[in-house]
């Protein structure tokens, strides 16, 4: 090993718990997350665990979620795996109606991974957390031999608190279906970025923590009228709506022309033969609201930049319980089914 390779690339020693690992933590992690303990023992203590003080006078429910993140490419138009991990975890809390209190961050890194890349990822994770004012309280680093892991895997656990946690199954006939913004941006941007398609587009991933958009809604009276929420990540809007319809034994009817969609996402989908409704979103949510509160909820969402394109796109009915109906743009009607697997481009 060249004398300074350990300064530019991850080596097995970085994960061995010794001096090199300490240096890495000092250099990359602590300056960004160390000062923000929410309990007596925080990240800067580098103890075996962190403590979280129960928020004083707060009532409600604690919400816990965890996610492992892999993405290819690691740096993509509009974000990277760091922002994706932070947003993914925060958004899982947000659609449960929970304000994030603290997160953990564990990284499994391939030997030889460039340290400047790691720094960018950590920087971007930290920036996303700043948007919601939540700290990292503990973490872990493991280094795997080259070839045993593809670059980097991040795992994050998020702890949040909700006045009243919102499930994804509380749909009732008559409810309105709201989307907080354009659909398909993340999945289509990533597909376009994959080298085998050699496409160039200005479309960027929508990856963002959406709690700031939800906070005003959930702290208002409208909160009571929100019957369900879900973030349409893997499997896209199609999977999210189908899951909600199945769990609540209702039918969801969506009007295609009302679904907010960027023309670049639509164009790419036509080119690749992949539906924008079946690819992941990382900064959007489906919100199910009682009919009388739908317009008010829409106004509140639209006041935040992340919700500027929010729209009411459909209704919960009893017509075909457990299924989703799409009223197509041209005026037809069909089922919008659960995607079968990862979308693959059509051949002919």
């Amino acid at each position: 090993m060249s004398p300074d390779r350990k300064d530019t690339h991850i080596t097995p020693l970085h994960g061995a718990g010794g001096e090199l690992m300490g240096e890495l933590l000092e250099r990359l992690i602590l300056p960004r997350f160390g000062k923000e303990a929410v309990g007596r023992i925080g990240l800067d203590a580098l103890d075996d665990g962190a403590t979280i003080a129960l928020p004083e006078g707060e009532t409600g429910e604690l919400v816990l979620t965890t996610d492992s993140h892999v993405v290819k490419p690691i740096f993509f138009p509009g974000g990277d795996i760091g922002r994706l991990a932070a947003a993914g975890t925060i958004n899982d809390l947000a659609v449960m109606g929970a304000r994030p209190i603290a997160l953990t961050l564990a990284a499994i890194i391939e030997e030889g991974f460039p340290i400047p890349d790691l720094e960018r990822i950590i920087e971007s994770f930290a920036a996303a957390l700043e948007e919601v004012d939540a700290p990292v309280v503990c973490g872990d680093t493991k280094v795997m031999p080259a070839g045993d892991v593809d670059g980097i895997v991040l795992n994050t656990t998020g702890l949040g608190i909700a006045r009243h946690a919102i499930s994804d199954a509380g749909l009732r006939p008559g409810d309105r279906v709201l989307l907080t913004g354009s659909i398909g941006d993340h999945g289509m941007a990533l597909l376009a970025a994959r080298e085998e398609f050699s496409l160039s587009t200005r479309l960027e991933s929508d990856v963002a923590p959406i709690w700031p958009m939800f906070a005003p809604l959930l702290e208002s009276d409208i909160c009571e009228a929100i019957h369900a929420m879900k973030d349409p990540t893997r499997g896209g809007l199609a999977a999210a709506l189908n899951e909600m319809a199945r769990k609540s034994s209702t039918c969801i009817e969506i009007e295609e022309t009302r679904i907010p969609m960027r023309s670049a996402a639509r164009g790419l989908s036509e080119l690749l033969g992949i539906s924008p409704l079946e690819v992941a979103n990382e900064g959007k949510a489906v919100v199910i609201v009682a009919p009388e509160a739908a317009e008010a909820a829409l106004r509140v969402l639209r006041e935040h930049p992340l919700g500027a394109d929010a729209a009411i796109v459909g209704t919960v009915t009893e017509e075909y319980p457990t299924r989703v109906i799409l009223d197509t743009e041209v005026g037809g009607r069909r089922f919008l089914d659960m995607p079968l697997g990862d979308p693959v481009p059509r051949i002919c």
Binding site: S263, T328, V330, G331, L340
Partner: protein
């Protein structure tokens, strides 16, 4: 809505629907199309809703992987079992042969790769010393690419297992099947971007059946159906180009020349239908050395083309719609398919299961 997506324009859709309603035939009319992409567009846009009660619209043998006979899949499997790399398009992998699918063969350790184009097979062959076989399926649309790689002087370790098929003569054979009262054809636009309109004129003019070549946007399809109904009303059956923005009557002469230099017409076996004269293509003599069936001498299991209870043969010949089959959505689903039409993503059963093909949803 941006200008580039006006092919789903609701106002124009309504105008065409009104035109179609006015042209509704008094006798029951069966229109058959032969293209998975058409079925996908029809079902995903819910277009059957616009058809008069007297008009039925069915997919015939439109899914290339669905009409590939078990025998050819068996051959591909046996070749892969010799240790060769077998490359083919995605859907082909899961279609059942007599005993196994390529997918199941792969899980036994055979090297079976999914490719996106014929050129990918060349690239794979260039990077290995092993034998590489391209299992080429598809109608006239994909054939020029298969021809092009052979004309380009491919690596010596590459051979082709060719299962290309021709649409116009197959339409004639479908007309002659018993109990198959086909009233009109909606012909696939992308096939005609290659072959143009002439082969339909050669094969079908004397059969007095309306043939309209249609595009794939919702409005293209509604327009083509309106043209068919107008021919029926006027009693003037003919070959009509409903997709002139993409289809030249002479097709693509360069692509046709590629096909003609490499392939010659032969009989072909269609799954669910049987052998149809002059609907297939085989390599011409100068290219015989690239024919996988002559390079590999393989033993095949006893052919088992029929699947008990499965009505794919009727679906593939437009004598049934998917929901007529007792297995449909009960025992046969995209995650555990029984017949080929549920496997291929362009197969009618798979499309109906996912999007609901009935006239009124």
């Amino acid at each position: 809505m941006t200008e580039s997506f006006h092919f789903s324009d609701p106002a124009r859709g309504k105008a065409l629907a009104d035109a179609i309603a006015k042209l509704a035939p008094s006798d029951q009319l069966k229109i058959v199309h032969v293209c998975g992409t058409h079925e996908m567009a029809i079902t995903r846009n819910g277009l059957r809703r616009f058809l008069p009660e007297s008009v039925d619209l069915l997919e015939g043998p439109g899914c290339p992987v669905c009409v590939t006979p078990a025998r050819e899949i068996d051959t591909a499997i046996a070749i892969a079992q010799t240790g060769a790399v077998l490359c083919t398009f995605g859907d082909m992998i899961r279609v059942p042969g007599s005993e196994l699918s390529l997918d199941e063969t792969r899980s036994e350790g055979c090297d079976i790769r999914t490719i996106l184009s014929a050129a990918d097979a060349v690239a794979i062959a260039q990077e290995t010393d092993r034998e590489v076989v391209f299992f080429a399926v598809g109608f006239e649309t994909t054939t020029p690419m298969s021809a092009a790689i052979l004309l380009d002087g491919p690596p010596a370790n590459l051979t082709v297992l060719a299962s290309h098929k021709l649409i116009p003569p197959a339409l004639v054979a479908l007309l002659d099947l018993p109990d198959n009262r086909i009233g009109a054809y909606l012909a696939p636009g992308h096939v005609s971007t290659i072959i143009g309109t002439r082969p339909y004129e050669e094969w079908l003019t004397n059969r007095k059946v309306p043939v309209v070549i249609g595009g794939f946007e919702p409005l293209d399809i509604l327009y083509a159906i309106a043209l068919i109904l107008r021919q029926i009303r006027d009693g003037t059956p003919k070959i009509e180009n409903g997709y002139p923005r993409a289809v030249d009557p002479d097709g693509n002469p360069a692509a046709l020349d590629l096909i003609d230099r490499v392939f010659e017409v032969a009989d072909a076996n269609w799954r669910g239908i049987g052998t149809i004269p002059a609907t297939g293509l085989r390599l011409r003599e100068p290219f015989a050395r690239f024919d996988a069936t002559s390079r590999f001498d393989v033993e095949l299991p006893e052919e088992q083309d029929e699947i008990p209870g499965c009505r794919c043969p009727d679906v593939l010949t437009a004598r049934a719609v998917p929901s007529d089959c007792p297995l449909f959505s009960v025992r046969c689903t995209p995650t555990s398919p029984v017949g080929p039409c549920m496997v291929g993503s362009e197969g009618a059963c798979s499309i109906w299961f996912r999007y609901g093909g009935e006239r009124q949803l």
